[in-house]
């Protein structure tokens, strides 16, 4: 009780520095947990997101580029492949389902992708879940109609019945407007997949858009493939990638995305290092705050010693105070974490359509706060040593 009272009063007497120090701990702890969780969750999510497909078939090039372009709707297309390749893979006995996509246009920065209605009717983007229309109906494959991903619809401010002109290219340039007018017939319900940020139109519509090369009017940009079995994937991998030299078969999608994270692993390490350094600096802040206040504490320490308080007891009070500052800081850190991760999740969603799980449990939520609090307790040791060595008689002046 006495220890708690002494710590409580000391925190109150140094309320300003306590608050500032606790806030710096909160920011550091929040940053540390955020870096960790964003890293973990984005790796987990991006290696699991495949929107229901096992592989992607595309023009010869990088598998990663193919996956980023066809699944995540990022990056440029590595090139087109003739319709015959689509027809071949569609009929291959190892293939359960093949969905062609064509890219090359945008609507104010949001990609317009041409595809067939089966993408929305036959594919489970995650086990047991099909893409659903939140409103309206599916586009007619032979009409100039579109359905919008939920995120794209929200950002573009378009709904059922609205009309738009596509723009040529993947990057928005208002001078490159196509003449065609498309009408929105439906808006998809959120799926938290890259599908949400796309404007979907019939495959034929994108292939024959005015200004596109008429010679490529039947080409597709990629084919999204569902396999009958995992072994079929390896078989097609050998067929397209080893024996063939014209196309690329990107399989399995998760492993290709994992390679991406391995490639940018150094960036994770730099971020983690920065977070550790910030944590260390904040803990040092606790040391500095308490150490600097030792001059004003000396008299109180001397009085308490005169009342019979032991040196170890008072040193312990200093360490406990540092620990409490760390604990308060880390409690607030969860709010900082929530704010940082939510913001990052919004940015990731805007860029990729993927919603990372911001509040999923991660071990860092346990070891992060515990480590930070332990660091704060350690930083209390030096001021505690100073308290231990306080000259009692000298600080109980005046002397007669």
């Amino acid at each position: 009780m006495t220890l708690a009272l002494i710590v409580k009063r000391s925190l109150r007497q140094h309320a300003f520095s306590t608050t500032i120090t606790a806030l710096s701990i909160a920011l550091a702890g929040g940053l540390l947990m955020s870096v960790w969780v964003v890293k973990e969750q984005s790796q987990k999510t991006f290696t699991q997101v495949n929107t229901g497909f096992d592989a992607v078939l595309g023009a010869r090039g990088s598998k990663l580029q193919l996956v980023l372009n066809a699944i995540f709707h990022l990056e440029a297309s590595p090139g087109n492949l003739p319709a015959s390749d689509y027809e071949y893979v569609k009929r291959h006995p190892a293939v359960k389902l093949a969905i062609p996509i064509a890219v090359g246009d945008n609507l104010r920065g949001y990609r317009i992708v041409g595809t067939i209605p089966e993408l929305f009717t036959d594919v489970e983007y995650t086990p047991g879940k099909h893409f659903q229309l939140a409103e309206g109906r599916m586009f007619n494959p032979d009409a100039k109609e579109a359905i919008l991903g939920s995120f794209a619809a929200h950002k573009l401010g378009l709904g059922v019945g609205d009309a738009f002109h596509p723009f040529h290219g993947l990057i928005y340039d208002e001078r490159n407007q196509h003449a065609e007018t498309y009408h929105v017939t439906g808006v998809l319900a959120p799926s938290n997949t890259p599908v949400d940020k796309v404007v979907w139109i019939p495959l034929h519509g994108l292939q024959t858009m005015s200004g596109h090369d008429p010679r490529a009017a039947t080409d597709v940009s990629a084919v999204l493939v569902q396999l009958r079995s995992p072994s079929a994937g390896f078989m097609l991998d050998i067929m397209y990638n080893k024996q063939g030299n014209r196309l690329t078969f990107a399989y399995p999608i998760g492993a290709i995305m994992a390679e991406l994270f391995q490639k940018i692993g150094w960036f994770d390490k730099v971020l983690a290092l920065v977070a550790y350094l910030v944590a260390l600096v904040s803990a040092a802040g606790v040391l500095v705050a308490i150490y600097n206040s030792m001059a004003s504490r000396r008299r109180d320490i001397a009085i308490l010693r005169a009342l019979g308080a032991g040196r170890l007891f008072l040193s312990g009070a200093i360490v406990l105070e540092a620990t409490v500052i760390g604990t308060i800081g880390m409690a607030v850190a969860f709010a900082a974490y929530a704010a940082i991760v939510s913001t990052v999740a919004v940015v990731i969603r805007a860029q990729t359509g993927v919603l990372i799980e911001t509040f999923a449990y991660s071990p860092v939520m346990l070891w992060g706060p515990l480590g930070m609090i332990a660091l704060c307790a350690l930083s209390g040791l030096l001021p505690a040593l100073k308290a231990y060595r306080t000259d009692v008689a000298g600080n109980l002046a005046p002397i007669s």
Binding site: T2, L304, R305, A306, L307, G308, A309, R311, S400
Partner: protein, 205 residues
């Protein structure tokens, strides 16, 4: 400050006043008796135990249980209320007894100021809190270093009366340092510390 006292004793319940010039070492003497300072040699026996033989922790314990110290400048903890100051006076030696702290503050006429902080009290009231704090643990020995030095005549008389009365009730010995002839006049036994401290005499011209 060098202190060399041949012998000084104080019986249980006895009241002794010390007078002496400023800088003669009276406070240092009290600090040695209370165990705040450790002597380089000799022996200081309190309640049968040799203070010099005790470790710093042992001296802390003895001070916490058996010695009440009243300071000229009161040395109240500014961040703590009156009640907390008094309770801290007993908490390091035994279980803090809130009822006893309340009774003592009532006794010194501060029952209406329990939650006030020292800065909210008059000088006389602060000294009364300091007295209550020193006596709260029922010490065997009360050391009072110029306890009335900062008080006006009326408050000084009241504070002194309170200290002596409480010491009498609890059977505590009282060693009080003062310059004030009026205060010293109320003690039957007054010792001149300038005479007691042989180190002072040796260095005198």
């Amino acid at each position: 400050m060098i202190i060399d006292v041949a012998e000084f004793s104080l019986d249980e319940g006895e009241n002794v006043a010390l007078l002496g010039e400023s800088g003669s070492g009276k406070t240092t003497f009290l600090n040695l008796i209370s165990g705040i300072l450790a002597p380089d040699g000799g022996s200081i026996r309190i309640a049968g135990g040799d203070m010099a033989a005790l470790s710093e922790h042992g001296r802390d314990r003895l001070r916490a249980t058996s010695i009440g110290y009243i300071f000229q400048t009161f040395n109240l903890l500014q961040g703590y209320t009156c009640l907390e100051n008094v309770m801290l006076g007993m908490t390091f030696g035994a279980r803090a007894d809130k009822a006893q702290a309340l009774a003592l503050l009532d006794r010194v006429g501060l029952s209406h100021r329990l939650d006030h902080y020292p800065r909210q009290l008059s000088t006389g009231q602060q000294q009364r809190v300091a007295v209550a704090r020193a006596l709260a643990k029922h010490p065997k020995l009360v050391l009072a270093d110029e306890p009335t030095g900062n008080l006006d005549r009326r408050n000084a008389r009241e504070a002194l009366g309170l200290i002596r009365e409480t010491c009498k009730e609890t059977g505590a010995a009282l060693l009080l340092v003062s310059h004030d002839p009026e205060v010293l006049g109320t003690f039957q036994k007054v010792r001149d510390f300038s005479e007691m401290n042989r180190a002072l005499k040796e260095t005198a011209p």
